[in-house]
Symmetry: C2
Subunit: 176 residues, 2 copies
């Protein structure tokens, strides 16, 4: 039932899923090939080598992880409403095709042993916090600690994989 001819994006998607499921050590050509029901012959057709694949994998994530959430925001809401919607969206639904909620903790894990990944994650964090800061500013909230606090809370809830992450985030939003 799995498709027989693959393209590079199939390999990248399965890579994010494997990363989310089993951590960075799952990013090996032969193991991914098994997941896709093929062999590494296909892998080395679509990618020069493993570093090439990993580099494109991290860019694949980076190209989607910011827009994916922000694009869903309701532009008609006032700043405060958009802030709350953003925080609740972030801790809520994720796309399982791209690794689901476990992806980003695994990415941070990967960043521990790969400088390029660490830089990509740092860029993403900075970008998101800057966006949160703008929203807080527009909503007339404190901008010195609140944006970082909300973001750290998001990262922590994601890491802990807490059942009622949304409830906790909601309680926190009542207090900012």
């Amino acid at each position: 039932m799995t498709k027989q001819r693959l393209n590079a994006e199939d390999w990248l998607r399965i890579g994010l899923q494997a990363l989310a499921r089993s951590g960075p050590s799952a990013l090996r050509a032969e193991a991914l090939a098994r997941d896709l029901g093929t062999t590494k012959g296909s892998f080395y057709w679509h990618f020069r080598d493993l570093p090439d694949y990993l580099e494109r994998l991290i860019r694949f994530w980076e190209d989607r992880a910011f827009e994916g959430v922000v694009a869903r925001l309701d532009g008609d809401l006032p700043p405060r409403g958009r802030l709350e919607q953003l925080c609740l969206l972030a801790v809520g639904l994720r796309d399982p095709d791209y690794g689901g909620a476990a992806l980003e903790p695994a990415l941070r894990a990967w960043a521990l042993s790969d400088k390029g990944v660490a830089e990509a994650v740092a860029r993403m964090d900075a970008r998101r916090i800057a966006y949160l800061k703008d929203l807080c500013h527009a909503a007339g909230l404190d901008t010195s600690t609140t944006p970082t606090m909300l973001y750290a809370l998001y990262v922590g809830l994601e890491t802990l994989d807490h059942d009622d992450a949304e409830g906790v985030m909601r309680a926190a939003l009542l207090r900012v």
Copy 2:
């Protein structure tokens, strides 16, 4: 200047440091031996094999990570004061001999690919959150979301390795 005869604890300490510095992939016998200025002959003298070492490493952490912080609390403080002291201690000083602030994110990274580690981390999380819940209860605070919120914030700040983690935590404590 490094000591010539080693014991098992030397290997465990260097293991936590390597884990914190470079992630789980650094937990290899020969690499650790280089760090200690010896060879894997010593490693296999003190440990049966790698699984044995890793198992003892995780227990080594588990035996210290809870008591290490709680023992420093000032018992004379009222509950609310102890809660605040605990949160600020947690995001603050760490023992670099045992891996420093980067250790626990690396442990969570490791947990992604090792079931035993995942269970140990889950036990630790549950234990700490239960302790926080007791403190919140004694302080007359909400116990449904606040303990998890404070803990997730701690985990997030630790993961982000934020410069002013203490300031962010302090701001959060003003609002619980």
